[in-house]
Amino acid sequence: MGEEFNSTQPIYHQLVQRVCRQIVGGVLRAGEKLPSVRDFAVRNSVNPNTVQRAYAELERLAVVESRRGLGTFVTEDAARLDELREQLKDNQITAFVLDMKEMGFSSEEIMEGVEEHLAEDK
């Protein structure tokens, strides 16, 4: 079975996020072909209609493009890919900061914590 899905977001949405992460993480490269809808569906044990919807959404986001008769490919538009990278970073940081603020951490504490964590990681 593929990765599990969280229980509140639509599955197609989670598939969109997975593909975006794979692109930003370099697992899928610019211009690389995505699996066919059927293969992607089987690999992740999801409905082909759901994959279709995820691919349509990715195309709307200009992250992938479908070429008639050939399949779906990661965009080669470097500016768009840079933008996607920034978007994912922003999303992740926004969610993290929101969580921390909800728990009452100040901006200074968050900064300090992140810096310490990164220093330890090295």
Binding site: S7, T8, Q9, N49, T50
Partner: protein
């Protein structure tokens, strides 16, 4: 003018709806199994019928298959009344074992080839290989899991517009359920086919479903898209079921 619009609407509905229940009631002696059910189901989807034991799920499925006659109201499949003759449009996989135990898998495939004009023998063999079933094995020597796999092969090898499955995963271990789910995804043709199944294994089957029909005490409570349940109601199917069927 109004009449013409109505007629166009009807045609459109026919083009999109594979199943249409119009005030359908099913009575058994001393029991109402289904009460005044009115709903339609779209084509090209994988649809789950969910509800507690004895809620009327199997009755709904059998009405669609033309195996039961409604006591009141009408059931239409693919625009045609669901009678015994609907068998050409509908592939029905029963919860019970309906295989000849002395036959080999290959003989069982050939039997179905003879029974159904739309049976695709090539697809059946592809599916057997996918499910790692050996055509020479006798049905009586198959494990429960492999009998479950064989039944799915038989149902999905037909080019029927509607495929009905009664509890296809019930009583099978997780590995078999997973392989059946993968087999289904690999071999259903949603451009021309619709799948409707009753199931208890809701959490596991959720990623495969487009739509759910919730049934309780012989009443069809709701028809809902999975994406709506998650996206708008912010619930998983299991949570939604608890709330809807409570």
């Amino acid at each position: 003018m109004l009449k013409i619009n109505e007629a166009i609407k009807e045609d459109l509905a026919l083009a999109t709806d594979i199943v249409r229940f119009d005030h359908v009631t099913k009575r058994y002696p001393g029991k109402v199994a289904l009460r005044d059910a009115t709903f339609t189901l779209p084509r090209g989807k994988v649809i789950g019928l969910i509800g507690p034991n004895g809620s009327g799920k199997s009755t709904v499925l059998k009405l669609m298959a033309g195996l039961l006659r409604a006591s009141g109201g009408t059931v239409a499949i693919n625009g045609k009344p669901a009678t015994r003759r609907i068998g050409g449009e509908v592939a029905y996989l029963s919860e019970l074992d309906a295989l000849y135990s002395s036959f080999t898998i290959e003989e069982t495939i050939r039997l179905h080839q003879g029974l159904y004009e739309d049976f695709n023998q090539e697809k059946a063999h592809e599916m057997l290989a996918f499910m790692q079933l050996n055509p020479g094995d006798r049905v009586k020597n198959l494990s429960k899991g492999n009998r479950g796999r064989l039944k799915i092969v038989l149902a999905l090898s037909r080019r029927a517009a509607l495929i009905l499955m009664d509890e296809p995963l019930s009583g099978l271990d997780p590995i078999v359920r997973e392989s059946i789910i993968k087999g289904m995804i690999s071999f259903i043709d949603l451009e021309t086919q619709t799948v409707i199944m009753t199931t208890h294994e809701v959490a596991e089957i959720e990623p495969v479903l487009d739509l759910v029909v919730a049934i309780r005490d012989g009443q069809v409570l709701k028809v809902e898209e999975i994406d709506n349940i998650r996206g708008e109601l912010n619930m998983s199917l299991v949570e939604w079921m608890k709330q809807t069927l409570a």
